[in-house]
Structures are given as structure tokens and as C-alpha cells.
Amino acid sequence: MDAILLQILNGLDKGSAYALIALGLTLIFGTLGVVNFAHGAIFMIGAFTAVAFSKLLSFSFVTLDPVKKNFLGKPLEIQNTYLAEWFGDTVGNGLIDWAVPLSILFSIPIMLFIGYAMERGLIKHFYKRPHADQILVTFGLAIVLQEIIKAFFGANPIPTPAPEMFRGSIDFGVLIGFAENAIIYPYWRLVYFLFSAIVIGAVFAFLQFTTFGMVVRAGMADRETVGLLGINIDKRFTIMFGIAAAVAGVAGVMYTPINSPNYHMGMDFLVLSFVVVVVGGMGSLPGAVLAGFLLGILESFASMNFFKEFIPGVDQIIIYLVAIVILLTRPRGLMGRKGVMEE
């Protein structure tokens, strides 16, 4: 029982990342009808805004130590961060320690802008072109974005630690009445799961309970009629593209402590996220979230030794296998709507 629970928990953090990216993909697809192969790159850029922000925070100047000498006999150089200088040691270093969560605030406007610029600058011109063209141009864009990041940040993963408080693990089993040390779970993964649950909840609440969201949903159901009612639906869809980019961006920001970001992490996630979207059903937001968590958990179950003995290597292929079975038996995916991308 505790082993099963542990696997479910293990699947949650990857599942959360899948769900957040797939949610953004589905938002774009459901509103604008565009298949966005650059969405993984957006996730990756989000992760790198966290890197950039923490670099920015730890910007430092050098002073010379009057007493100590280094091994060459010269005065020891001490790196002082500006933040510690301005706000005092506790606040300044505290800010640096919390760089990753704080960079959410930094990344949201950036991601909104990137999403907006992408839609207005490029995607807009591709609504009337075939899906293959959309795939190809966003694929090209993904390569370009990835290479730009590589040119500035290098090819190696950049470790970006979580705040001190959240490092280490929590004995999760004790909280719910299991034996000690049965279920050990890293703090940050728990944070990541809660965070993604909040983001997903916020997106759904936004669509469900605001007028803006209502109009967007109406537009997803029947764009033409909404347009005929005198509502500028294109503008709202553009904003939704920005929001989708922001969702992927913050997903990337919070993921950095789990996996040090490198320039091709977007591509790695993209392929899986597409599979998630297809399994969930193209254009279905709940489907994307459900499938994201489901596949994340399935993946972690498949990596149990028990299953690996049955079918060796099942953990490597389980997601694709599920996708193939679902596509062939339920072509619309788990919760796909009728009439969306039937062809």
C-alpha cells in the first residue's frame, strides 16, 4: 500500500509539469486552432528566466579583504552581492535564497509579452495555412529559440537550487498514518504539485467565473457567432495565447530546482506533452490535465521493479504505448470534444 502511494506521489511532479504544458498547448489549440510546436521552448525559456533572475539577484561587486591573503599572497577578494549591501545580510541573502519562487513575478510579464509577440508576429499569419505549415514554422521557431538560449547560457545544465527551507525531504507517510520512513518525499516536489494545482485551478476559475473567460469559452465553441455579436474575439484569443505562454513559463520556473535547466529540456518535454494532449483529447482542457497526471503516475508505476520484471523496459515506452492504444481505440482521446480536429 505504501509502495503504491509512493509511486503515485512520485508521478505527481512529472505529471504536474505535463499537465501545465499540456494545458497551455490545449488553450492555444482550443482558441486559435494552432498546433504549437514551440510550446516546449516556451517552457524552457520560463526555466531560464529563473536562471537569469537568480543571476541578476546575486549580482556582486568585489572588495579586498584587508587582513587575509589568498594563496598567491595577494589580498583575498570577497564577493559582495549588492542586495546584501543594500538591504542588510538577512534580507538580502534571504532574497537570493528565494530567487526561484520570486522569479515567478519576474517571468509572468516576460512570458505574457513573449506569447503576445509570438502570436502577433508569427502565428497570426498562419491561421489560414494548413496544419502541416503551422507545425513546421513553430518547429523552426523552437529550434531558433533553443539556439538563442544556448548562445547566451551555454549548453550545460545550470543548477538552480530551491530555497533553503524546501531542500531535503519530508516523511510524508507519518502525516497520514504510515510507519516512519515508509514514504519519503522531497519538499520541493510537494511544493511543485501544490503550485501546479493552484495554477490549474486559477486558469479554470478564470475561464469559468469571469466575463472575459466566458467570452473566450463562447469563442472556442463558435468563433464566428461571437464575432458577429460585435466582440473582438481575436484580441481575446491573443491574450489567451499570452496566458498559455505564462502558464508554461511558470511551470518551467518552478521546475528548475527539480531538474537543472538546459537548452533542450523544452524539446524533451514537448514530445511527451503532445502525447498528453492527444491522450486527453485535442481541445479539451480537463482532458489535458487529467491525462497529464495520469501519464505521469503511469510512468512512475512502470518504473517499479515489479512491472519491469514482467516487461523489461516498460518504463521507457509506457507513455507512447498508452497513447497508441488510446488513439486507436478512442480516436478523440479521453475527453475530446466532437468536431475538434476530426481529420
Partner: protein, 402 residues
């Protein structure tokens, strides 16, 4: 000739002449001159031209004709490579059995994947093929390690059985005694031309592959494939089951990819799982689109273009750039070099991605369409200068490349 009409024969002859003369054409600059770095006439690179040309020609039969965008062709490339290396390990270093097995196995593999994937179309088809390719890649990396040697990659060891080997046979890859690495260097007018057997072997196969695709393009079967691209629903309503046609195209293009993979292994007896990664599938998509999907020459041009500039661009570094722009004022020179250095050397992928985007946005027909537009423009200008009226004949002679 050979069942082709006049234009196609001309096209085929041009292709044959160009491929045969490649070692000369790609070596236009004298050794030691400043331009020598633009020479591309070395065997390794030319072999890649021919091999990736085959890969792209095959991909074009599927994507160019039927419009089914597969993101999983790298899987067949990998299967071809693995089976060829296995033939080296089991029989001898003769490439023929390996290539035959590569084509057969990748064909069977394509039949299986195609049968399942072609139940869906559009974006779903792309994702299904992508999923299959990633699955093969992951399996090759992990479970199939006894067959694929995992991360290390499959290679030929001295301890392998090699049942057909005897004392006289070559230990490098060969075709009935003719070693793939055998080269003849000719020095002429200060230019060094390398005539490599491996390249000519690949080139002859590439020409055969091109001829086959030419025949497919002109056949009723090719017409049917184009009809699938244009309007599949209408075909279904007229009572035609389109799936066998699409499947045949898929299998043929899978066999092309397997052949290319086998040739890669024949030139360098090594097969790694990274050949199956989906970025490799992305490369062949890039080649085909860049050159011009659905045209005969496009994929070959695209493959050559990408491989050539990949090679050239990777060699350029900041020092070279400084040399080139040394005639500029200092500040300007530094600025120009700073901007350009993102695009050369290791930044080649950035250039490629950007170029690819530009082509998809402005030239959906690829380089071939670009060439046609320029040709049409030139024709119009010539007609104007001849004082003729605007009665140029657009489209009366559709270029043979179409």
C-alpha cells in the same frame, strides 16, 4: 529512354552528370588559397550528400506526394544502420547483404508502423509516428542493449564470428573486394580532386533511387498519391480505399530511409541509437521542406544545401570573420562580427532554424520555388529588353523539376 519522356530523360541525365562530377564541382578553389575552406570535395562529406539525398527523396515520396507528415522516419534510418552492422558482424564486411537486409527489415518495420499510424491522419498521424520513433529510440537505448549495444553503439569487433570471412577478405567495408575507403587523388591546376569509391557507390545507388522516385512520380500510383493529398474525402466517396496506397508510399519511403541508414553504416561501420532520435527525423523534414516538398529535385537540393552549409558554417569562427570584415572601420567591424558570430560555428543550428522559418513563411515551395520565381523574373526582364510585348508565356513549360 527507360520509360521516361523527353524532359524527364533530360532531367535524369543532368542529375547523373552532376552526381558523377561532384568531386570536381565541389572543389572549385585552389589548395592553399583563401577560398579553400569553401571546398567540399572530401569523400566523407560527399557520401553524406548522396546518403541524405536518398533519405530525403524517400521522405518526399510520403510527405511530398500524400501530404502525410511523418516525424518518425529516423526510426527506419536506425533500423537500417543496425541491421547492416549486424550483417558485418555475422557474415563479412561486404556491404551487399547488409544493405539488402536493411531495406527488407526497415520495410517490414515501416509496414507495421504504417499500418497502425495510417488509421489516423493530419496531426494525429504526425504524433503517432513521433511516438513510435521515440519508443524505438528508448527501447534501442535500454532493453535491446544486447542487440544494439545501448549507449556505446553497435560496432564490429575482432571477436565477432564473421562466417564468410577468410584470410584474403578485406577488414574494412567493401563491395566485392572494392574498399569503400579507396580513393584516387588527382592534382590538376593546383586543385586536388579526390575520387572515392565509397562516394561513387552511394552516388550510383542515389541515382537509382532518384530514377525510381521519378517513375513513381509519373506513374498512376503517384497520381493516386497526389489525389490523396488534394482531397482524400472525395476519393473515399468515389469508392476508393486510399489506405493501401498511403501504406505503400509509407513503406517505400521507410525502405529508402533504411537504405540510407544502411549506407551510413557501410561508410562507417557504426550504429548508434542517437540516429533514431526524433531530431534526426526533424532533419529530414527540414531538408525536404527547404528544398521543396513534392518536387523531384527539391529534397536532393535541400539535403545537399543543409549538409554543405553545415560543414562550411561550422568551420567559420570569429577570427575568420574578423579577417573578412577587416576593411571596415574598427567599431563597425566589431559590431558586425559580434552579430554574425551567433550564426556561424556552433551557431549553425540557429542559422538553419531561422532559414527554415523564412522558407516556410515566404517560400512554401522551398528552394525549387525560389529558383522558378527567379527564372520567371529573368525571363520577363529579357522579354522586356527584347522589346517584345508582355506576351511571355508563363507556365507553358512547367520546369522538369516539378
Amino acid at each position: 529512354m527507360l520509360g521516361l519522356d523527353k524532359n524527364d530523360t533530360k532531367l535524369l541525365l543532368i542529375v547523373i552528370c552532376l552526381t558523377m562530377a561532384t568531386p570536381i564541382l565541389l572543389q572549385p578553389f585552389a589548395e592553399g588559397s583563401g577560398m579553400a575552406q569553401f571546398n567540399a570535395g572530401y569523400p566523407d562529406l560527399m557520401q553524406r550528400f548522396a546518403i541524405f539525398g536518398i533519405f530525403a527523396i524517400g521522405f518526399n515520396i510520403l510527405f511530398g506526394l500524400t501530404g502525410y507528415l511523418s516525424f518518425g522516419h529516423a526510426a527506419f534510418l536506425g533500423v537500417g544502420s543496425y541491421s547492416t552492422v549486424w550483417m558485418f558482424k555475422l557474415l563479412s564486411m561486404n556491404v551487399l547483404p547488409g544493405l539488402i537486409l536493411a531495406v527488407i527489415l526497415s520495410g517490414l518495420f515501416a509496414l507495421l508502423i504504417g499500418y497502425i499510424s495510417l488509421r489516423r491522419s493530419g496531426i494525429y498521424f504526425s504524433i503517432l509516428t513521433l511516438a513510435f520513433a521515440q519508443m524505438s529510440f528508448n527501447i534501442a537505448y535500454s532493453v535491446l542493449t544486447p542487440l544494439t549495444n545501448g549507449e556505446t553503439g553497435l560496432q564490429v569487433y575482432a571477436s565477432d564470428p564473421q562466417y564468410l570471412m577468410d584470410e584474403t577478405s578485406l577488414t574494412s567495408t567493401h563491395f566485392f573486394g572494392l574498399a569503400m575507403s579507396a580513393s584516387q587523388k588527382v592534382l590538376f591546376l593546383g586543385r586536388e580532386f579526390t575520387f572515392n569509391f565509397g562516394y561513387y557507390f552511394c552516388a550510383v545507388i542515389a541515382i537509382a533511387a532518384f530514377y525510381l522516385s521519378l517513375r513513381i512520380f509519373r506513374s498512376p500510383f503517384g497520381l493516386m498519391l497526389r489525389a490523396i493529398k488534394t482531397n482524400q474525402t472525395r476519393l473515399n466517396y468515389t469508392g476508393i480505399n486510399t489506405r493501401p496506397y498511403a501504406l505503400a508510399a509509407f513503406v517505400i519511403s521507410g525502405m529508402y530511409a533504411g537504405l540510407a541508414g544502411g549506407l551510413l553504416a557501410s561508410m562507417d561501420p557504426l550504429a548508434g541509437a542517437e540516429r533514431m532520435q526524433w531530431t534526426e527525423s526533424g532533419t529530414v523534414v527540414l531538408m525536404t521542406i527547404l528544398g521543396g516538398a513534392g518536387t523531384l529535385m527539391g529534397p536532393v537540393l535541400g539535403a545537399g544545401f543543409i549538409k554543405y552549409f553545415e560543414n562550411i558554417f561550422s568551420k567559420i569562427n570569429e577570427n575568420v570573420l574578423h579577417q573578412w570584415f577587416s576593411w571596415m572601420p574598427d567599431g563597425l567591424e566589431d559590431a558586425v562580427v559580434w552579430v554574425l558570430h551567433f550564426f556561424v560555428g556552433k551557431g549553425w543550428s540557429l542559422t538553419l532554424g531561422g532559414l527554415f522559418m523564412l522558407v516556410v513563411i515566404f517560400l512554401p515551395g522551398g528552394l525549387v520555388e525560389g529558383g522558378q520565381r527567379i527564372a520567371a523574373l529573368l525571363r520577363r526582364m529579357r522579354n522586356k529588353s527584347d522589346g517584345k510585348s508582355a506576351g511571355d508565356k508563363p507556365g507553358t513549360t512547367p520546369t522538369a523539376a516539378e
